[in-house]
């Protein structure tokens, strides 16, 4: 219980490490020394100390963009279990709240981009909503598959129910498909290769980075920070499934969760080093593939888990906290 309170500060402090690790891995593959793992912190610190310049075209919506992005990602974080570690807030159906609270951040990021009246930012915004429209069904269907396998309806109890032997249980291997879908969603939502290249130098080819071209100073710092948090959030979803260590010892679980997260960052770095960006028209197909994985998993997982679970839900003993 005390440890679940630890997750939030840990994420808030540790999230910028993830892009640091990715950059380091990419540098390794390219044969460079690369920036320090702590470089994102230094970048943030520098940005937060600056002033700002606003376009005359913009309104308060532009200024609200970074605020909402940060607040919504943090709200998603409060619902997020790290491996076997329960979240601060858990209730049946919180996975829907989780997905939609992230969508709120996206809405305002896109609105802030459109507020500048720039063609580049409009283009990025258009692509962002396009990818999101396709990744949302994949995410929710993937979570539904996990819910069906475990018989649980909240993120915390759902991830807690995934034990180390989950792959050996009937229907368990199908969860690998969900993991694949979650990894694809992780890459798409965090604007990584093969969907988007965060390091490109041409505004025309960027998606997420181009949407925030006009933000500067503390605003841009908040955006970068929110992006790192989002990486933590979606990374924990994937790693909690891929590294299902549930020892019952909170410290060990926490450690395993963190290891999983950095493994996902490592994976991202490798993907970015060995792959090129997909052609834009191919992106829909990859996201559709993720949705197809989720649907397939939903059909393949063990149907109607331990029947004893059903009357428990039926008798509607739905407690505010289903966390163990």
């Amino acid at each position: 219980m005390q440890l679940s309170a630890l997750h939030l500060p840990l994420a808030l402090l540790g999230a910028p490490l993830l892009p640091g690790v990715i950059n380091r891995v990419k540098a390794f593959f390219a044969g460079r020394t690369g920036p320090s793992v702590l470089q994102p912190y230094l970048d943030l610190l520098k940005l937060l100390q600056k002033g700002a310049v606003y376009s005359r075209t913009t309104t308060w919506v532009f200024r609200a963009g970074p605020i909402v992005a940060l607040a919504s990602t943090t709200a998603a974080l409060t619902l997020l279990p790290l491996g076997g570690l329960p979240a601060l807030l858990a209730f049946p159906g919180d996975l829907v709240f989780f997905a939609y609270v992230l969508a709120l951040g996206r809405f305002f990021t896109v609105a802030a981009a459109l507020d500048t009246g720039s063609a580049f930012e409009g283009m990025g915004a258009s692509r962002e909503v396009w990818f999101a429209a396709l990744s949302e069904p994949a995410l929710l269907l993937g979570l539904a598959a996990m819910a069906r396998q475990t018989g649980k309806l909240s993120l915390t109890s759902l991830y807690a129910a995934l034990g180390p032997t989950v792959l050996l249980e009937p229907g368990g291997p199908a969860l690998l498909l969900v993991a694949a879908a979650l990894l694809i969603i992780f890459l798409a939502e965090n604007s990584r290769i093969p969907f988007d290249d965060p390091n490109t130098h041409l505004e025309l080819t960027m998606i997420h980075e181009v949407m925030v071209l006009d933000h500067g100073g503390p605003d841009f710092g908040l955006i970068q920070y929110a992006a790192a948090l989002k990486m933590w959030v979606l990374g924990a979803l994937a790693s909690g499934l891929l590294l299902p260590v549930r020892t019952g010892r909170p410290w060990l679980d926490l450690l395993a969760g963190l290891c999983g997260l950095f493994a996902v960052a490592l994976f991202t770095g490798v993907v970015e080093s060995v792959m090129a960006r997909l052609r834009l028209t191919r992106v829909s197909q990859l996201l559709a593939a993720a949705a197809a994985f989720s649907v397939l998993a939903l059909m393949l997982v063990r149907s109607a888990p331990a029947v004893s679970e059903v009357p428990r839900v039926l008798s509607a003993r739905i407690s505010l906290r289903t966390a163990p």
Binding site: A119, A125, V313
Partner: protein
């Protein structure tokens, strides 16, 4: 019950007084809007009382017709619909007093107000009538009153065309309703809607199909939706708000009422509604994405939201048919709450669109832009409505969608994975596409630089219009934060729909709402985090140098409004992906040669069902009718002969029968 009748009377009286005032715009508005306000205040009291658990006696009055009866009753289901109907009508009336002013020199406003009040009164009677004859009469008055409202600007060819489409569609729907009620009356022995006839399984299914088509036409299920994108943009905006916010919900009411009367549903009814809901929802939002006309876009979103309601109803019926009461309660509860929510945010959005039309003189999104600076009130209210319709927390759209999601997830967990998965996939896709559509609508209309002269000179609307929008926006936030409170009043209708025994129902309903309390807590946390983040940003920027400049354009120093992304270009990746369904027509003149002349590009997305289904059908009907033209030649002697022959045939038939 008396006060409901009084409310209807006040509405009709106000309308009649407005009609009498005729060309005097000020008095017509005074009587019209006054009647609507007064009627709404009087009528909403008994409805709230019923929802709070104090039943109202049914009413039966003398009736001059040989069939039917004048019988009214206000049960919780009716009361749940009366509240949004009267509430939105009152707000739209306040809005209309200002919105209609520019039209006053050109046309008498009396008739418009008369039909507006008549529409409100007839909707009220439709949801409380307990006799099929009375119901159908009120239904017809509702259709005709709204027809005259749609054709308000009848000097425009497009408006007359839209009115005609609406008139034909609504009457085609009524034919099915007539059959539906005749079937019920034949089996039940009376036209009363309170006495529930016991139908055989086959007849019940026939009745369900008739109700689905008949009420679905009014509600706007695909493919019966074709009148919606025509009629809603043509009507004055406050009328569009009422039509889209509550009038099409009378179709949903009718369907729900039919469900309570037809007994336990077989599984395929649930599948049917899930299918209709998924198709209406996804195609509705896709068509909306392809539109450039702001009000047409909103009209297609009504189709989408009706689809969401149908998904809720469908998953509720699947739950009921499979004996999963939790799924049934959550599904029906979500569908009901979405009825109220859609009235709130769609009313708000249509009023916002009307305010744009009022202030900027056009509703073509490609000529708008930058209105948030010129119309801060309208823009902010529209933003709230846009976020609410996308189902984003902490606003109301999320609460009802959450309930339907939860019903679907429960269905998945409890062994109905297939139905649940369809609902989840449809809702998620609809949610993602709606977000694309409303970032487009809000971003292109209110953000950036104005794309035309009219938009540059736009002005904010006055107090009456602002007030109506602000009340609706506050309603969106209220339901978003206090969803469980609102839903705890709706246990009555949910119990009726889910067919659960009333004795232990309220308890299980309260437990089913427990997750919703957590959603409210989550929404509060979100609001708190928003405030924290805003404070953090303000603290970081304190005392720093804040400059103003141009939007970054790769160093280009003279960006113009024409360089912005347009509504069409914003939606293009998605409409391109789904071009198979949309069949967008493109007309492009490419730049050619070394010194290219003018180039142009235009797209248009006509309704596939209108073009592919109804147009050929009606053309076929016309062709057949033309074949019979030889019967009509204008010679009076022959017409007399037709009459004589008909009489003779009837006489022979009568004699032969006896």
């Amino acid at each position: 019950m008396g006060s409901l009748l009084l409310a209807a009377g006040l509405l009709v009286l106000g309308g009649a007084a407005a009609l009498a005032a005729g060309r005097n715009a000020r008095w017509a508005s005074f009587f019209g809007a006054g009647g609507a306000l007064l009627g709404a205040c009087v009528g909403i009291i008994p409805a709230v009382a019923v929802l709070a658990g104090r039943p109202v006696q049914p009413l039966r009055l003398a009736w001059g017709l040989p069939i039917g009866a004048f019988s009214l009753a206000l049960d919780p289901l009716s009361a749940f619909f009366v509240v949004p109907i009267l509430g939105l009508c009152a707000l739209a009336a306040v809005y209309g007093t200002e919105y209609l002013k520019p039209y006053a020199p050109r046309r008498p406003l009396g008739a418009c107000w008369f039909f507006f009040d008549l529409l409100a009164a007839s909707m009220l009677i439709v949801v409380v009538a307990r006799d099929s004859v009375l119901f159908l009469i009120a239904w017809e008055v509702m259709a005709l009153a709204s027809y005259f409202l749609v054709t308000f600007e009848d000097e425009k060819e497009s408006v007359r065309q839209a009115g005609w489409t609406y008139l034909v569609a609504t009457h085609l729907g009524t034919v099915f309703l007539l059959l539906f009620f005749m079937l019920l009356a034949r089996e039940g022995g009376s036209t009363s809607l309170s006495a529930v006839p016991v139908l055989s399984a086959r007849l019940a299914s026939v009745a369900f199909a008739l109700a689905l088509i008949g009420f679905g036409t009014k509600a706007g299920f695909i493919p019966m939706h074709v009148w919606l994108p025509e009629a809603h943009p043509a009507a004055p905006s406050h009328v569009s708000a009422v039509m889209s916010g509550v009038m099409i919900k009378t179709g949903i009411y009718g369907l729900m009422r039919a469900l309570t009367m037809l007994g336990a549903p077989p599984v395929w009814w649930g599948w049917c509604l899930v299918g209709v809901g998924a198709v209406s929802g996804i195609l509705g939002v896709l068509f909306a994405l392809a539109q450039h006309d702001l009000k047409r876009l909103l009209a297609y979103h009504s189709v989408e939201n009706i689809g969401i309601i149908a998904l809720g109803l469908g998953v509720g019926m699947l739950g009921r048919a499979h004996g999963l009461p939790l799924v049934a309660m959550l599904g029906f509860g979500g569908a009901l709450l979405h009825v109220l929510n859609h009235a709130l945010f769609k009313g708000l959005l249509f009023l916002g669109a009307g305010s744009v039309l009022h202030g900027a003189g056009t509703r073509d999104m490609e000529h708008l832009g930058g209105l948030l600076k010129r119309m801060p009130w309208t823009g902010t209210c529209f933003l709230i409505g846009a976020a609410a319709i996308c189902g984003l927390p902490p606003l109301n759209g999320f609460v009802s969608e959450f309930l339907i999601y939860l019903a679907a997830f429960c269905a998945v967990v409890q062994g109905q994975a297939f139905g649940g998965a369809i609902v989840i996939a449809a809702l998620a896709l609809i949610g993602g596409l709606a977000l694309a559509c409303f970032t487009k609508a809000f971003g292109v209309v209110f953000l950036g630089e104005p794309r035309g002269e009219k938009a540059a000179q736009a002005h904010e609307c006055g107090v009456a219009m602002r007030l109506s929008m602000a009340v609706l926006a506050a309603g969106c936030l209220f339901v978003g934060l206090f969803g469980p409170l609102v839903l705890s009043w709706s246990d009555g209708p949910v119990g009726q729909l889910a067919g659960l025994p009333p004795a232990d129902f309220p308890d299980s309903w309260q437990t089913a709402l427990m997750p919703l309390c957590s959603v409210s807590a989550g929404a509060a946390v979100l609001l708190g985090l928003l405030l924290l983040a805003a404070a953090l940003r303000a603290w970081l920027q304190r005392g720093r140098e804040i400059g103003r400049g141009l939007t970054w354009g790769c160093g280009y120093a003279a960006p113009s409004a024409r360089m912005q992304y347009t509504a069409s270009s914003f939606a293009q990746p998605i409409t391109g992906l789904f071009s198979f369904f949309l069949r967008t027509r493109e007309r492009a003149v490419d730049p050619e040669g070394y010194f290219p002349g003018p180039a142009s590009y235009a797209t248009e997305t006509p309704d596939v069902f209108r073009e592919g289904l109804y147009r050929p059908a009606f053309e076929g009907a016309l062709k057949t009718a033309l074949r019979l033209r030889w019967l009509q030649h204008g010679r009076i002697q022959l017409y007399v002969l037709y009459i004589a022959l008909t009489l003779l045939v009837l006489l022979v038939w009568r004699l032969g029968c006896s």
